[in-house]
């Protein structure tokens, strides 16, 4: 931060990071040791020493110093108002800040819960909108907050559509067998059909929700949007699912990256597309490592268990011949599968951290790219504390858990290399996306809530 006096005798601060200049309204209010942050880019600074003041309040020394931006300081009463006079554009880094508090969200939630109960659930959609509006408007990026433009009517009709087009047929398929009282084979057929139906529904729901949420989100008055076609995502989803199954799970990092690529590459901020340069091959190694460790431990545990159990049980099952051996094999396979899966689940955590970090790093918009430098231990601690909070409060800590999760993201997410936001223009189709029939429905923005 640099303090300087202008011709009109006002004192201004210019931020060393984003080069914007801010007018200081009351220079006498600044005291050594005070801290604040830049209005535009949130770079923290604090007052080291005050220059000699002339009686009209102008100062000529340069004595406030910008501090290490990675250390955070509580923003003190800001004595500066922003004036975006810095017209020289240099690439900058922008951070995200979350301003909300668990208490406020809990207050909103209490009222929501009451109204939801009293209206026998109808208020649920309005409640959803209130919560999202709060969370969005408490999230600040590069000095500006997000806005949520969804409304309860749209959420409700989305939920209705999903219920009638997918919920009812799915329910019918799962229960058809027992309703008709048909035999095992037919019943099994119905279950398979229901499962396939669900498999198709999931990608449609993901795309629909993303389309709805992005078009109802704005920053600096510019809407986001999603232009991907549901049918393309279904194809990607089904082939990815099949390949993952065929390769016994080894295809997963590619599948996951392809999904992310589809979702990012079809997302827009105004007319500016998001770009994604991720490659599943880059994640394969870490995935293969945990896959290998988990399978190896499955085999080891199985061998060990087979040896131990075999010794004990063989004695007791002497009479029963081949059946006894089969039981021993089955028990040991189940035990070692559980061990292997638990280990896999635990090792998946560092992998998922790595994956999230990688996905963000490969995402860019315009000339700027994201960075999300999270590490395993803090992420693990976040999830563990959330779990304990959820269990101990029997679910009542929901607002705090939500905010902890959000804050974890905003604390880490930055966008580096922004040239200019001024070139981005609105590209929002004012008419909400709707269509005719099922084909149109697939690309309808709808949200399951």
């Amino acid at each position: 931060m640099t303090l300087s006096t202008f011709k009109d005798a006002s004192v201004r601060l210019s931020c060393g990071r984003c080069t914007t200049t801010h007018r200081v309204r009351n220079i006498h209010g600044l005291k050594p040791g005070m801290s604040a942050s830049c209005v535009t880019c949130a770079a923290p600074f604090f007052v080291v020493a005050m220059p000699e003041m002339s009686h009209d309040g102008s100062a000529d020394a340069r004595s406030t110093r910008q501090i290490d931006p990675d250390r955070s300081f509580p923003a003190a009463d800001e004595k500066v108002t922003s004036s975006n006079v810095g017209k020289k554009k240099k690439p900058r880094t922008h951070t995200t800040v979350f301003h909300g508090s668990g208490g406020s969200l809990f207050g909103i939630h209490l009222v929501n819960a009451l109204l939801t109960l009293v209206t026998l659930g109808v208020y649920y959609f309005w409640a959803k909108v209130r919560v999202r509006s709060y969370l969005f408007s408490q999230t600040e990026f590069a000095g500006d907050r997000f806005s949520y433009h969804g409304n309860a009517r749209e959420l409700m009709s989305g939920a209705m559509k999903a219920t009638f087009v997918f919920g009812v047929p799915y329910y019918a398929l799962t229960n058809m067998g027992s309703f008709l009282g048909s035999d095992m084979a037919v019943n099994f057929g119905f279950q398979i059909a229901a499962w396939l139906f669900l498999l198709i529904f999931i990608p449609v729901a993901i795309v629909g929700a993303r389309r709805y949420r992005l078009t109802r989100t704005s920053w600096r008055g510019i809407r986001f949007s999603f232009q991907g076609k549901a049918w393309d995502f279904i194809k990607l989803w089904l082939s990815g699912y099949a390949l993952t199954a065929l390769t016994l799970g080894l295809y997963y990092p590619y599948f996951s990256t392809n999904k992310q690529a589809f979702l990012i590459r079809h997302s827009y901020f105004g007319n500016e597309p998001f770009k994604f340069s991720g490659d599943g091959a880059r994640l394969f190694r870490s995935f293969f490592t945990i896959y290998f460790i988990a399978s190896a431990s499955f085999l080891l545990v199985w061998q060990a268990a087979y040896g131990v159990v075999g010794l004990f049980v063989a004695e007791r099952l002497k009479g029963s011949g081949g059946l006894g051996g089969l039981i021993v094999v089955m028990i040991t396979v189940i035990v070692s599968l559980i061990v292997g899966l638990l280990l896999f689940r635990l090792l998946l955590l560092p992998y998922s951290v790595k994956e999230q970090r990688y996905f963000w790093e490969q995402t860019s918009v315009g000339s700027a790219s994201f960075s999300f430098p999270i590490t395993t231990w803090p992420y693990f601690r976040l999830k563990l504390v959330n779990l304990l909070l959820g269990i101990c409060t029997l679910g009542l800590a929901w607002p705090w858990i939500t905010i902890r999760n959000l804050r974890f993201i905003t604390d880490h997410l930055t966008l580096t290399g922004v040239q200019d936001f001024d070139t981005v223009v609105q590209a929002y189709d004012a008419a909400p996306p709707t269509g005719e029939g099922l084909d149109g429905f697939l690309d309808t923005g709808f949200d399951l809530g």
Partner: protein, 378 residues
């Protein structure tokens, strides 16, 4: 009062943010965009989307569906706006009324407590009872049969025909007195040493050998059967399913979104919530079971005596559970039953006169059928 404010203007067409100076007039907001255009927004048509919370920037929007926006960082702006335009900006947030919002929130939380308690203690049991009475018995029968297939396959069935007929005679006298034609009751005895009995929806009663052998008289067995029969007649399983569903909905409404970690907390809340309903059902089965005994003419003291036997032999887990249920304390149940048992019938009925109960109850020592050999067909 300050009439001029610094703010940002977003035109809704580009992501550029312009610094502007706002003027508060009597009728609207006046400002000049950087390109020189002059704007005047009538207060009535301005919407406020941010700035209702302490320290939050004030965001005012104008126009549809892609509004133009003004952002004022200083939250004091709102107070001056209300002073400048008073009644014309009633629809915008007034920081002076934040206290009132807090009061409303506190009030809402108290009301929420009341409504939740009301629904939990009264609404759900009443609704479940009402809905269960509209569930066709054939559905219950179907559900009961599928559970029965699982349960009956865990051990061999005791099928000695003469002794089973004697037990069915005890059951027959109870069902005749209950005269509930909706359910055809069927008793199955399974060769397990556990002291336990189950009632399945739709009409199956399962007795385990351990329980049968613990009864001293046919009248004691009648006490157990009467209790289990009432689980069936009062549709406790169906009601439990409905109560479980609605408790989940209630908890979901009170706790918000069910995702990830929260699901565990919510699951435990539901499990805890269900215990009370289960105990209510047990109480009802006890009371109505005892009533049934009285109608038949059996001395309720027999039922109470059997509960005492159980309490003495299994002090830690005193149970005659219906399936998957938790129970009130045995002492409380005995006390309640003793209260209801008075006055005892003048001439108690003997259910199996002239029969040797010790021989009948040992039926599992005589003829057994493995579950794999005979599958249940009905």
């Amino acid at each position: 009062m300050q009439r001029q404010w610094q703010g940002f203007y977003l035109d809704g067409q580009s992501a550029s943010r312009y610094t502007i100076t706002l003027h508060l007039t009597e009728t609207g907001l006046l400002f000049r965009a950087p390109d020189g255009r002059q704007f005047s927004w009538p207060y009535r048509q301005i919407r406020q989307t941010q700035g209702a919370y302490e320290g939050e920037q004030v965001r005012l929007e104008y126009g549809d569906p892609l509004p133009q926006t003004i952002i004022v960082q200083d939250a004091k702006f709102l107070a001056d706006l209300h002073q400048a335009a008073s009644t014309k900006v009633d629809h915008l947030h007034n920081p002076r009324q934040r206290n009132r919002r807090l009061q409303w929130t506190v009030l809402a939380s108290l009301a929420l407590l009341g409504v939740t308690a009301g629904i939990y203690f009264w609404g759900i049991p009443a609704a479940a009872k009402f809905l269960a009475s509209h569930v066709p018995p054939s559905w219950e029968r179907q559900l009961g049969d599928s559970v029965f297939k699982h349960m009956a396959s865990v051990g061999r069935r005791c099928t000695d025909p003469d002794r089973l007929a004697a037990i069915e005679r005890v059951l027959g006298q109870l069902t005749a007195a209950a005269s509930d034609a909706r359910y055809h009751i069927q008793v199955t005895i399974i060769d397990k040493p556990v002291v336990n009995a189950f009632a399945l929806p739709g009409g199956h009663v399962i007795l385990l050998r351990g329980l049968l052998e613990a009864t001293e008289t046919p009248e004691q067995l009648a006490g157990v059967l009467a209790h289990e029969l009432q689980h069936i007649y009062k549709q406790h399983s169906t009601r439990a399913i409905l109560e479980q569903g609605s408790t989940s909905l209630l908890i979901a409404a009170v706790t918000g979104d069910v995702t990830g970690a929260l699901a565990f907390g919510i699951e435990s809340a539901r499990a805890l919530g269900m215990l009370r309903y289960s105990r209510l059902h047990e109480d009802e089965a006890d009371r109505q079971g005892l009533h049934l005994l009285k109608v038949v003419g059996v001395d309720p003291a027999e039922m109470i005596a059997f509960y005492r036997t159980l309490g003495a032999t299994h002090p830690s887990q005193v149970e005659i559970p219906s399936y998957l249920a938790t129970h009130p304390r045995t002492e409380d149940r005995i006390a309640e039953l003793t209260r209801l048992a008075n006055p005892p019938p003048a001439r108690p009925v003997s259910l199996l006169p002239g029969k040797d109960w010790k021989d009948i109850r040992s039926m599992c020592g005589h003829r057994l059928v493995s579950p794999d050999v005979e599958s249940h067909a009905d």
